[in-house]
Symmetry: none
DNA sequence: GATGAATGAGCGTTCATTCAT
DNA sequence: CATGAATGAACGCTCATTCAT
């Protein structure tokens, strides 16, 4: 009941509404694509008026871009945590792949949104910035690839080839799993990741 | 001058117009996405009236689905031709991968359309019908995978995993190449395909 | 029933619909201002669908600009006809003023639209092109003013001052008349025009 | 600390805020038109909350109407001051015209707002209340016109005609001057006012 | 059969107004 | 009393689809 708690409540309420909108957008876009997520529906699902959305986001494009940015941040930080630098390149690769796969499988909405995003006009300008693609901000995977190449543990291929040999199969499997076309159990997952390693190791 | 010949002429005329419509749709969607391909523009580019399109396709969705089906047919038949059954599993794998890669790179419009299609509401219902996914109509790759597994040349993994380890990296590399982000020369292509083989071979 | 009449009918039909839209816009804007003329209302009053308007005009702005252009053309050509060049400057001035006044009074919708147009963002860029303002396309009044100045019949004032002394009072009187605030009979009209002449004559 | 002084303080505070709102509205509307003056922007510019505006004005329309009324009051009182009743009708006419012109030129925001106001739905219901139009509250100009008519110095025309011959040219010239289309120097101003006099004098 | 003018539902967005705090 | 977040009706505009010719 004091000023501090009031501020907290205000802050939370404002954030809560913004998050409702973000969440509703994620749900609708993940499930029905961009066409299936008109502002009116997002507003309804978020329990707000349509105009309210424009208090938090300048436009639908901005809303989607921010949603993407939040998800990207989450996934990047997830990948970076818990990796033990003292382990071998292979162990770290397996660890990170497993983590990525687990994240994608346990966050199917996030995954399906990212898929939609990358293959839409919204994401075209961000294509280069995909998980592995950024030149000026190497992520964990990319650093690992480079270390592996220089240690002569990995094939001497461009990093983007190693990335394609890693992420694409994982994403493809998760997609089919998420759509219910296949069922990824722990055994298949482990073997699939091992196979990825076989593909890139020297 | 009889009914039959009349039908033939009509049929040919209809087919020619139909193909114009299909081609115009392919061009526009590949280049500008679904948003950049309204029916009126497709009609104009195809040199037909907008209403005419509805004589050949029940709806825009059907038009797009048929376009997809035609492209799929073409790519499947391309992959199947010229493969020498007497060669080793590895040789046939390399041969077919190279063919697929060459096809995708030399048919960027087809490739870009397929990409758009898979990541849109249009493609969701057809996801199961992807190149390798059909249960009731095994294609060349799938047969090769099964042969390789039974000969103990390939890892004992579900076919869809072998498919993911093969097609996804190829598609990913072609995408980046088509978008101009990378440049796939013959050396990188050969090494990439070899790496795919390393991933699936026992 | 021949081809020619068919073409005529088509042409007329297309023109008729366009004219319906123009007329509905004129009526609504003249009576209720730009705010009182949303596209939906214009469409309803014109007896067409809202989308139809965009077959004839790229945007609402373009529709309004074309409406203005048509009215301007009509009024300019009205002013130019029947003026006898051999008469005195005064006679021609009186004649043209009377014609302008009569036109405005007998076309109150046109008049009210022009009033709205000039005092709106639409008309700002056309301000210089008002009846008397164009430098590169002198109209009848402007030519008359210049002749009168050089003949030393009119005061040696900038043309825009003579224009202001002529058009503004006329427009003002017509406005009040059109709004029903005053009633301009023939006698008042004649005397008012004479007074304008007294204002500009040397 | 009594109720009265409280009311006074409140009253002053309210008036100050009210004036801020009025001023912000004037600035925005004069500069950007009615479309460029949403309530939120007026509130921001006035340094008050959007809801606060509705404590002082029932609606945006009322706000604008009151703004108009204040400007009208100011201009009317400006015109009335300093006029020496003992001078001739002509001298007083020239004096008041010059004052009006000077006021309009030195108060371009007021002028531009009034212009916007008269040619908008807001102003239609107030048309009769224009500077010279009120029957029940004769202003200085109107009294001067009537005096001039009865003294047979001015033409025997309805007062509204004399008004049109006076105000309209002045307003028109000021508008073009304010818009930068022309430049009114002292000489042109003097001659223009003389011309107005020539128009109305007997 | 072929046409393309016409349609109107649906889109993203704005903004005068309200009301809980 | 003052606030500004929230609202939702209304806007200009698009485009898949229909249908009279």
């Amino acid at each position: 009941m004091n000023v501090h708690s009031c501020k907290l409540r205000d802050g939370m309420k404002r954030t809560a509404k913004r998050d409702d909108i973000i969440k509703a957008s994620l749900d609708l876009i993940a499930e029905h694509g961009f066409h299936g997520a008109p502002i009116a529906l997002i507003a309804e699902k978020a329990g707000v008026g349509a105009g309210t959305i424009y208090r938090y986001f300048d436009s639908k494009d901005v809303l989607i871009a921010e949603l993407y940015r939040e998800l990207e941040e989450e996934i990047v930080s997830t990948l970076q945590e818990g990796c033990q630098e003292e382990k071998s390149v292979r162990d770290r690769y397996i660890f990170m792949c497993r983590k990525l796969l687990e994240y994608l499988i346990t966050h199917p909405l996030n995954f399906r949104f990212m898929e939609q995003y990358f293959n839409s006009p919204y994401g075209i300008s961000l294509r280069r910035d995909k998980i592995i693609g950024k030149r000026d901000e190497r992520n964990a995977f990319e650093r690992l690839f480079e270390e592996g190449i220089s240690r002569q543990v990995l094939k001497d291929l461009p990093v983007y080839v190693l990335a394609a040999l890693t992420f694409s199969p994982i994403v493809s499997l998760v997609r089919d799993h998420t759509l219910g076309l296949i069922n990824l159990d722990g055994d298949v997952i482990a073997k699939s990741i091992d196979a990825c390693w076989d593909g890139i190791k020297r």
